[in-house]
């Protein structure tokens, strides 16, 4: 009786797992393309707009995973993603240099803005320099809400603090949400603080919050996005979809893809500006 009981349990467990395994089993070739990207491309709706077109044209199923740029690069390092769409220039260059990525191809840009309350307690409005504005915020001890999630925006923000000669971490006025840009704007709005945001996420929000753009237009605040194909040679044991990754780069840099990016509007405003240079390159040096 006892043995029978245990046998039945094991059978049920084994059955349910084998069903799960068969249902998800691939045909040996990667069936989908994993795109690791930033929250901004997902939260603005850009991916939902571009990907169906790409999937139709190249007959591939994309799984876009929206994480911060830092985590996206790590997914690339582990071979858990096939292609990256990220914005963290110096980290991207290091990523390619250490052989994890084939080539860094810039596809579009937007810019960062400093958001803050209309009352502007730190008095930064109209400043030409983002670094000066950060200094003023620190001097005033005004609430600043940081992503604190190792994303591209977070990295940019930390670079600006470093340039301002301020170490904000641990200060009572410095809050770290550890969440995406959308949630961080909500927190900033509720706390009536300052934050660094990409312009697109701020503009794409349906409910315009009570915080406004105070600083914009500084060259320091340019935010270039690029695509990088993960180097399959770094992951010989894994099945990477490098063909699909090259197709994605091709799509993002080709005339049609670039036009689509430039035509994407939310609330009547263009969110990303296409800037792929020259002809489409796809797989870069990888293609024979």
């Amino acid at each position: 009786m006892k043995a029978k009981t245990i046998f039945v349990f094991l059978l049920v467990i084994a059955l349910s797992f084998s069903v799960a395994a068969v249902a998800g089993c691939g045909t040996g070739q990667p069936t989908s393309l994993i795109l690791a990207t930033t929250t901004s491309t997902a939260d603005t709706g850009l991916l939902d707009y571009l990907l169906p077109e790409f999937e139709k044209a190249y007959k591939v199923k994309v799984k876009p995973i929206a994480v911060g740029s830092g985590e996206a690069l790590k997914m690339g390092e582990r071979g858990d993603a096939d292609v990256l769409l990220v914005h963290a220039k110096s980290d991207e260059e290091a990523f390619v240099k250490s052989g994890f990525g084939l080539e860094r191809v810039e596809v579009m840009y937007n810019d960062f803005v400093i958001l803050g309350p209309q009352a502007d307690p730190a008095g930064i409005k109209g400043d030409k320099s983002a670094v000066d504005a950060f200094k003023k915020i620190a001097d005033a001890g005004a609430t600043f809400v940081s992503r604190g999630d190792d994303s591209g925006t977070n990295k940019k923000e930390l670079n600006l603090w470093a340039a301002a000669g301020v170490n904000p971490v641990g200060q009572p006025w410095y809050l770290e949400t550890g969440q995406g840009m959308g949630e961080t704007i909500t927190v900033t709005d509720q706390k009536q603080g300052y934050t660094l945001s990409d312009r697109a996420t701020y503009l794409a929000r349906k409910d315009t919050p009570q915080i406004v753009i105070l600083i914009e237009g500084d060259r320091q605040l340019l935010n270039p996005y690029s695509v990088i194909v993960v180097n399959p040679e770094k992951h010989p044991g894994l099945k990477l979809n490098t063909k699909g990754a090259g197709d994605f780069v091709e799509f993002m840099t080709c005339k049609k893809g670039q036009e689509m990016i430039g035509a994407y509007k939310k609330n009547g405003v263009v969110l990303f500006h296409p800037d792929a240079k020259g002809e489409t390159r796809g797989m870069g040096d990888y293609r024979e």
Binding site: M1, K2, F9, A21, G24, P30, G79, D80, G182, L240
Partner: protein
Amino acid sequence: MSTILNAFKEAFLLIVRFNPDFYRVLLLSLIVSGTATVIGALIGIPLGVALSESSFRGRRVLLTLVHAFMGLPPVVVGLFTLLVIMRSGPLGSLELYYTPTAMVIVQVILATPIIAGFTHASMEGVDPRLGLQAMSLGATRWQAAWVKMREARAGLVAAVIAGLGRVMAEVGAVLIVGGNLKGQTRVLTTDIVMQTRMANYELALAEGIVLILLVVIINIFLTRLQAEKGMREIEKRVTGYPA
């Protein structure tokens, strides 16, 4: 305040407007959580009955584990599962990452201990003399357990409802292993998180209302099923004929 009121209107519109994107999300929620609950019940109910009715080595340890796992944090289950099924993980070659199958797996892990725990508790609640009486009339131990299971029917249905409620409302684990991919792994709870992030509060709340309605409807259905069966049973016993 107007946001909250508008959300109810939005919820109504969502249901009647038949937006295919929304219904796909709704349907996937039902399929994933339904499948997970069925598998969870297939494992959990026999497990709970065995924990109550038979004595085997390690029964106490297993029971403690089941009780502890009833409170598993979904995010941890999601992360652990993702690390296993990730492309660079031990089961990476199965390509389960970011699929509905992966979502079913995490939900089975979450639902099974709850169903097993509640099943065990309701079996323990049945008068033990019932089983002994059945055996004295010549029933085997399994037949006796079956008699007790019928007696504990309401508890077993509650166990399944609790398991379903847990997985339908769960967001942390499915978000991690599913990735909230549009048209592929986006379910009601993960869509609510995304809409909240995009500050579409009315839509997010409206989807929440639909989710709650859905759970209420399923619960009414399951409870009715059990109650009607119970009534028929009583009638049969009193009159001697099936109703």
